[in-house]
């Protein structure tokens, strides 16, 4: 057991898998010699050498395309797209190529790869360097989409993603790189498609992802202490496959549900989860399902402004308190 940052957990997770399997290779911009712009891949080049850990040009289409071609023919690449927002410049692979290859070829071709990227706000990077693109990825049948909220989940989900025979979009949260958490020694392998109940509660279910998990947990403490409201907090972790059993199970029990989403309001992952809940647990709901999201605006750069946009602990507390009272 050791304390590890989320940042270091990335390198450890990748290293664990590269040690295990020679076919795991890693590529991206500034990831090798420099150890990544977020310093999340420091040491990998030294450990695994320049044939397995490779710097690329600023050619995101080439990065994802090459990862795909390698995966189709026998390797298990991990590709970094530095800022999640840059997925937009190679989105054809995300939308059209990776998810459809297996189906269109009737199973002849598989694409076992991981695409990891730093998403999310809070660092004052402005509208083009702060987005929660897990929502961009969730629409495409054939992809899997995960986003860890803690160091141990980074390692475990990374291992699960690398070992998974399907393409996995792996969103790390930039504002979490510095957090620390306890991590067991030895190999860690988690399971895709599993949500985690991080706090048990009886009055309402709060579903969150990534950075918002931490705010949801803090809000739950305050709601309990200050208002006697008992929240069950679910960390979704995996948007595809989606652990609807855990989510529906919790909602069925509590009768009320809130999502806490960092993304701008419209068509975030919460919309899908709410739609599933309303369809399948309608008669268990004691009140409207409420999404707590960023307002539907691009993210401003100035610190004060940015802090007003992304859901804060206060906003979560206030929204839940008001809704539960209504």
């Amino acid at each position: 057991m050791a304390e590890l940052t989320y940042r270091d957990a990335v390198a450890r997770g990748i290293a664990q898998e590269m040690e295990r399997d020679e076919d795991v290779v890693f590529l991206g911009e500034d990831v090798a010699a420099a150890g990544g712009v977020f310093k999340a891949t420091v040491g990998l080049l030294d450990k695994f050498g320049p044939l397995r850990v490779r710097d690329t040009p600023i050619s995101e289409q080439a990065i994802l395309g090459a990862a795909m071609g390698a995966a189709m023919t026998g390797l298990k690449p991990i590709a970094e797209i530095m800022f999640a927002d840059f997925l937009a410049v190679c989105f054809d692979y995300v939308a059209n190529e990776l998810p459809k290859a297996r189906y269109m070829t009737n199973g002849q071709v598989g694409v076992p790869l991981v695409i990891r990227f730093g998403g999310g706000g809070g660092l004052r990077f402005g509208a083009q360097h702060s987005q929660c693109v897990e929502n961009w990825c969730m629409q495409f049948p054939g992809l899997k989409v995960v986003s860890p909220s803690s160091p141990v989940d980074v390692i475990g989900l990374m291992a699960a993603a690398v070992r998974d025979p399907d393409p996995v979009m792996f969103m790390e949260h930039k504002a979490l790189y510095a957090i620390k958490g306890e991590v067991p020694d030895g190999e860690i392998v988690d399971t895709l498609g599993t949500a985690k109940i991080l706090r048990h509660g009886t009055d309402c279910t709060v579903v969150a992802l990534g950075l918002m998990v931490h705010r949801a947990l803090a809000a739950a403490e305050r709601l309990a202490a200050e208002f006697g409201i008992s929240c069950e907090v679910v960390d979704v972790r995996s948007l595809v496959p989606l652990d609807t059993q855990t989510i529906l199970g919790s909602v069925t029990k509590t009768g009320r549900v809130f999502t806490v989403e960092e993304n701008p309001r419209v068509l975030g992952w919460g919309a899908e989860i709410m739609s599933i809940i309303c369809d399948e647990a309608f008669y268990d709901l004691d009140g409207p399902p409420i999404r707590i999201t960023s307002p539907h605006i691009p993210l401003p750069a100035a610190d004060l402004l940015e802090d007003m946009v992304i859901p804060s602990v206060e906003r979560v507390v206030e929204t839940i308190r008001r809704s539960m009272a209504a």
């Binding site: 050619s59 395309g65 023919t73 054809d92 297996r102 269109m104 070829t105 002849q108 025979p165 989606l242």
Partner: protein, 344 residues
Amino acid sequence: MAKKSNPERAPKALINDDIGEAKRLEMYRLQVTIREAEQRANDLFFQNMIKGTSHLSLGQEGIAAGVAAAMQPDDKTFCTYRGHAHTLARGVPVEKVLGELMGRDNGLMRGKGGSMHLTSVEHGVMGSYAIIGAHLPIACGSAWRSQYKNAGDVTVVFFGDGTTNIGAFHEALNFAVIWKLPVIFVCENNLYMEYTLNSDVTAVEHPAADRAAAYGLPRILIDGNDADIVFRTMRDAFSKARAGDGPTLVEALTYRHSGHSRADPAKYRPEGELEYWKEHKDPIKIYKDRLRSFGVSDAQMQDIDTEVMQVIDDATEACKAAPTTSVDILFTDVYADGGWAWRN
């Protein structure tokens, strides 16, 4: 395509040059197979037995045949939507190609992919790609795997003249060169991107060859309607790739006899253009003359033609008789577990 013509009829003294008789007869057979299979696909369209769209390579067979004849069995092919030719050239049975076009259960992907996505991994055909340019980086990845694993195989990727203007072309070429990948980029310059003359929208005359230097590559511009030239060019490119000396970019000049796709009557052609290419630059005509000049008799070629037609007729009948695709494959192979479950 392994089937040989009747050896009794083989000419005694074919020029024993660097290509030789066997290869040449193979390339002849390939070209005829592609031509006739594509014609058949076209006919089946007009009988409404094929739906959707399809893009034929009529007139461009010299490239498919010349490249395939230079390949080893474990080399990899990446095609575009105009990929029937290259798929057939790797030895994929006509029946499986036509079956896919017809949406039958005997098709290569049992109808799930369709004309634009022909794939036959067992023949090294790693897929046909319908989004312009997307497969160039993907082919780099296949070549990277070969390099990394010291597998020795080479990846070939086909694309058109119009494709040279999309970003992925540029990224792939640079990437392949800096990583010295064993990949060969074959640009089939058939003058048109769909309905627009590619030279109207391209800054240089030869969209691939004139850009080779931008990636530190030699300028290679060849007649794509002469399978021998294609074969020799590719042989060198394969040697280079297998020697670890990196990628090659080839621009092969050609012309498509059909419209861009099923829907296209090709009214945009200047008068006489099609006729000129059919008369003077038809790859099969050119190749017949070549074979004749080496002493192959018309009768021998006729035999090959007949054999090919038989194969295509048989394939057509088999496809017509095959069941339409069974709907229970609808929900298979979205994910590797065989199914489509995105939730529990």
